[in-house]
């Protein structure tokens, strides 16, 4: 099987007010079709920058990202994006939000309706079809956002800390739902998180990233069968191992955050 996403020698330099910040340096990663990858690290490690490079929002300054044989130039519906802030269109009802991508694709009305209905049912949103996002809880909003990208049938889902703003029960609930959807549709998922437990619960492989410059510190494969039990010994051993790796970077992050204001 060929990898679906090729990331080779990717680097990204931001220059703000004369200072250059190396956000990503020499990232190499291959993602197989249907694989569930978590990008894990403290804030400032460039995990969202890497995701945005794959999404095409902000292209890398070095190296290349190749998806399905084509270099990424711009965002596109082949890579569905789910944002932490949900990014639902508040002026559209739930139904319209989900249908929007299909309307852009100019699919026939009947087909759109059918598809939206199926998605509403799959994500337990039937009762909210005609509601506006402002009437929904955070968890419900993120369900709609997931339904919106699923509607596109994109083979790849890119998720930028999608459950970061949710309470822990809603979070677990949506994690299970995401795994169910992933199992059913066999999407390739790249999922950014700073929660160690979340990454172990979800991923096939966890990519631990370093703090500035963002590089890959270690790639950890998780072989535990799903549904994974966060109270199991194996889960917790892995959690300790990852916590050590992440803490090293978190410490560098903290030191840097203290140093920066003093330097200015």
């Amino acid at each position: 099987m060929q990898p679906q996403i090729h990331i080779s020698k990717v680097g990204k330099v931001f220059s703000t007010s004369g200072r250059e910040v190396v956000a990503l340096d020499d990232i190499n990663l291959e993602v197989m079709p249907g694989e569930f990858i978590c990008l894990l690290g403290p804030s400032g490690c460039g995990k969202s920058t890497l995701l945005n490079a794959i999404a095409g929002f902000s292209l890398p300054t070095a190296g290349s990202v190749i998806v399905d044989g084509r270099p990424v130039q711009a965002p596109g519906p082949d890579r569905g994006m789910v944002f932490q802030e949900y990014a639902l269109f508040p002026w559209m009802t739930v139904e319209k939000n989900i249908a929007f991508g299909l309307e852009i694709k100019k699919q026939p009305k009947a087909r759109i309706k059918e598809k939206v209905s199926a998605l509403l049912e799959m994500l337990n949103l039937q009762d909210f079809r005609d509601r506006y996002p402002k009437d929904l809880s955070g968890g419900m909003r993120q369900r709609v956002a997931i339904a919106r990208v699923l509607a596109l049938d994109s083979p790849i889902l890119l998720m930028d800390e999608p459950f970061g703003a949710l309470d822990s029960l809603t979070r677990r609930n949506l994690q299970d739902e995401l795994l169910r959807i992933w199992t059913e549709f066999r999407k390739t998922i790249i999922f950014v998180t700073h929660s160690i437990e979340e990454s172990i619960y979800l991923a096939d492989r966890i990519v631990v990233m370093t703090y500035r410059p963002g590089t890959i510190k270690k790639i950890v494969s998780v072989s535990m069968p799903r549904q994974r039990d966060p109270s199991s010994v194996e889960f917790n051993n892995l959690k300790k191992e990852l916590a050590l790796l992440v803490m090293e970077e978190q410490t560098r992050h903290n030191q840097n955050e203290i140093k920066v204001p003093a330097a200015d």
Partner: protein, 276 residues
């Protein structure tokens, strides 16, 4: 049901001050403390208002239908004339300002091209255009509507620009990743996202239009509410002046509550909306 006495009490409370003022006013007039030509009694104003509202001639079925007769009063004609100017001027002003504002908000080059000119013209009060508008358009509706167009144009324009510029980048990113074309992005993302700003601009614009119409009618036209109260001054009809002002106030209130309803309807998705 329990709330009714409380609400009744609140509205009674609200009526208290106007009632006291009316009573003082009536007292001053009734005892001839002020000259009735300077300040006529409230009762005289109400009588005049009623007379101004009613048809001037007796109903004659051979000349017109009943409804046409009922609305043939001078005030109805004046109010209609003023409203016509406000609505036409406002619609033309908005029709010009909205597309330009959307373009200027979305495109930096267009913004830089137009902005200096707009910054020069915007501080000129629409009223200052009166002499020029009479020179250009003569008397009657054209100069009045021209002034109202100017009055409505700038508030709508400035708010539309601000609205488009403040569209949250996350919506743009979400729409791009869903594959939206430029046109779709413009019509289905930027425009609705800017609606709260645009409606604020429209509300200010129609308020300005209403101010301008009264002034324009005092100078460039010979009907409408603004003309009528100035005409009444020539004859020293202070009761009619106040009756006319009262009508102007009622129309302003009607316009504002109409805009409010439009606002609530178009922004029913919006988070921080007031429900009044």
């Amino acid at each position: 049901m329990k709330n009714i006495p409380a609400r009744l009490y609140a509205s009674l409370q609200g009526l208290l001050l106007p009632f006291v003022l009316l009573a003082i006013w009536q007292y001053l007039s009734a005892h001839a403390i002020v000259n009735p030509q300077i300040l006529p009694a409230p009762t005289a104003v109400i009588a005049k208002w009623w007379e101004y509202l009613l048809p001037t001639e007796a109903f004659d079925p051979s000349r017109s239908g009943y409804l046409a007769w009922l609305f043939s009063g001078e005030m109805i004609h004046d109010a209609y004339a003023s409203m016509y100017r406000v609505v036409v001027g406002f619609l033309v002003g908005t029709a010009l300002a909205l597309p330009l504002g959307l373009l200027m908000g979305a495109n930096d080059r267009i913004y830089k091209l137009f902005n200096p000119l707009i910054q020069i013209l915007r501080p000129i009060p629409p009223i200052a255009f009166i002499p020029l508008s009479i020179l250009w358009f003569g008397l009657g509706n054209p100069p009045a509507i021209f002034l109202i167009v100017i009055g409505a144009f700038f508030p709508v324009l400035m708010n539309t620009i601000a609205g488009v510029r403040h569209v949250d980048g996350i919506y743009i990113r979400a729409a791009r990743s869903l594959g939206a074309s430029q046109t779709t992005m413009f019509l289905r993302v930027m425009l609705p996202a800017a609606t709260p700003y645009i409606l604020t601009g429209a509300r200010i614009g129609i308020g300005t239009a209403f101010i301008v119409v009264i002034v324009a009618e005092m100078i460039a036209v010979n009907n409408g509410l603004g003309y009528r109260i100035l005409e009444a001054r020539e004859f020293f009809w202070s009761d009619k002046i106040i009756a006319g002002m009262f009508t102007i106030g009622l129309l302003g209130l009607a316009i504002d509550s109409g805009m409010n309803r439009l606002n609530n309807y178009l922004l029913k998705w919006h988070r921080g909306i007031e429900s009044n």
